[in-house]
């Protein structure tokens, strides 16, 4: 979803006849999503006789979303609306990176390492982070989760890296 500009251009990119840039871009994105869904479900079987094929409902909803997205775009052109709000990159970037690191790390590295590194990366998401307390809290949270999930909730999780266990 990176189709929206990350540094608010304040209408500089959009032509001046667009009165509500927020709706305009939002509507266009919906149209793009709908078009993508229609393309992705184009290989599915449609109606045969009066019974639905696998592709009937996705196409129906896809066309509906296409129309609604277009309507939102048109509203964005003709009605005065809020401009694009400012996107910050720091928070989303580090939170997303933390999630990704966790997902990649959990299998080979086990929960302890994945959770701890994910915590520290997420903490980069704000300039207010103070490292000493962050490391202490991160370690406490990791310990808490290491007790909570496998023991209290009975959900089996691998704790340590695979190469250490073997």
């Amino acid at each position: 979803m990176s189709d929206a500009p990350s540094h608010a251009p304040e209408k500089s990119i959009l032509p001046s006849w667009v009165k509500g840039p927020q709706d305009f871009i939002g509507g266009l994105a919906l149209v793009a999503i709908a078009a993508f869904a229609l393309w992705a479900s184009s290989d599915l079987q449609g109606m045969h006789g009066f019974s639905f094929g696998a592709g009937t409902a996705p196409r129906m909803f896809g066309i509906l979303l296409l129309g609604l997205g277009a309507a939102v775009t048109v509203v964005g052109i003709f009605t005065e609306g809020p401009g694009l709000s400012k996107f910050h990159w720091r928070g989303p970037f580090f939170v997303a990176l933390a999630i990704l690191v966790f997902a990649v790390g959990i299998r080979p590295m086990g929960m302890i390492f994945a959770a701890m590194s994910s915590f520290l990366i997420a903490a980069l998401g704000t300039p207010e982070t103070r490292w000493k307390e962050t490391i202490i809290v991160g370690a406490c949270l990791t310990g808490f989760c290491a007790l909570l999930f496998p023991y209290a909730l009975g959900l089996p999780l691998q704790m340590w890296p695979t190469f250490l266990i073997r």
């Binding site: 929206a4 939002g26 994105a29 079987q45 009066f50 939102v72 989303p92 999630i99 903490a123």
Partner: protein, 521 residues
Amino acid sequence: MGDLFSNLGLGFSTVFQFVQWTPAFLGGMSIPLPINILLCLIGALVGTLVGVLPGIGTIATVAMLLPITFGLPPVGALIMLAGIYYGAQYGGSTTSILVNIPGEAGSVVTALDGFQMAKQGRAGPALAIAAIGSFFAGCVATVLIAVLGAPLTKLALAFGPAEYFSLMVLGLIFAVVLAKGSVLKAIAMIVFGLLLSMVGSDIETGASRMSFNIPELADGLGFATVAMGLFGFAEIIRNLDAGGEEDRQLVQQKVTGLMPTRKDLKDSTPAILRGTVLGSILGILPGGGAVIASFAAYTLEKKLSKDPKRFGRGAIEGVAAPESANNAAAQTSFIPLLTLGIPPNAVMALMVGAMTIHGIVPGPQVMQKQPELVWGMIASMWVGNLMLLVINLPMVGIWVRLLRVPYRLMFPSIVVFCSIGIYSVNNAPMDVVLAGIFGLLGYWLIKHDFEPAPLLLGMVLGPLMEENLRRALLISRGDATVFFTRPLSATLMAISAFLLVLAVLPALRKKRDEVFVESES
């Protein structure tokens, strides 16, 4: 009437069930444990704990805590979830009163007068009245569910696929009409949700749809994954944007003197009564009843008051009425879910997700086949409300301390906790990545003023709608007029059309906006 009592009796006996617990360290001695009561208590406690955190709404709380119920038996899991839900709601009110950061739309109204009361050093009575009002509303709503549950189930059995489809259309339209903001954009979000629900294999033909040969997508997008991404992660990212610390204006005075004065009680009693009635009615309607209920209750109190100027300056009625209405509506919104199997709002949609994970398909059949589940849950609602009253009033001090935890430490914890939670559902790293993607999508949606709640509702209703649409058309041999010729279905469709027309008419739109504008003035 006799039915009602025997049903409630069954419910309470389920809730008060004792399980013999034989831990190894006691050497074969067994201790009887009221397991369901304990689960309800833990749920309410944990729900409040997370719900109190500023900026985290009820939906986000329930979504985040969903995984901790997966290891439990179905009855226990649902009772615990119900506890989490009430706890989260009450936690949200606590935050609005003490910090003036409402976690969700429903508690915006509570913040208006609640925070003013807190500033005047009357946080104690405000919290107490909120708890008492919620408890009273909860009691009334519980009885209402028990009374209406059985007859509505009988009605539901008369429903064919065409009626079900029309009813779901009505529910979605209600969700649009009662929601805040643009009608068009809300409908677009619902359809987006419906489209997302199509991912995965087709129920009838087994054909793989829009899954791009990714094995994790073959079963469809996990409900918990999407909810956690759209609400958990997206909220975190958005709060980071807002700068976390600056707008927190925590009441610095110590919360002392919980007991409301006699005058407080006298003032708030009629407000609680009116709020309860209004909330119970609005909650049954499909579509986000709890939010509109608190707004409407506040507006009503202001209209009826002899001195409307007091509102917004710490009037206790302004806390009592919306809190009771909110809680009553939250509870009665279980009625459409339990009897018809249709979730009326996003939280109930999460409940459906949880039920499905436990292999329960909500609907009229559940009432007949697993009565102990339904009635146990209804009874646990009452118990849960009682617990909130008992645990929250003495523990206010702890919640206040929790509010002082800085955001810079809180948000990485939530990220990690959610990641582990999502991973533990299927042991699939791909689910965590998907939730992250939905987190970014949710952030983008918020930035463009699209509401994610209708999307979630659409996503849950998608498969149900498709199935019933298919069946209805198959039975009618491809005749699409079946939705308008069967009387019950036609009525439902007519109401939907009428509502939609009303919603776009300028006159009513103005009225609707007026109700919501209350929060800004």
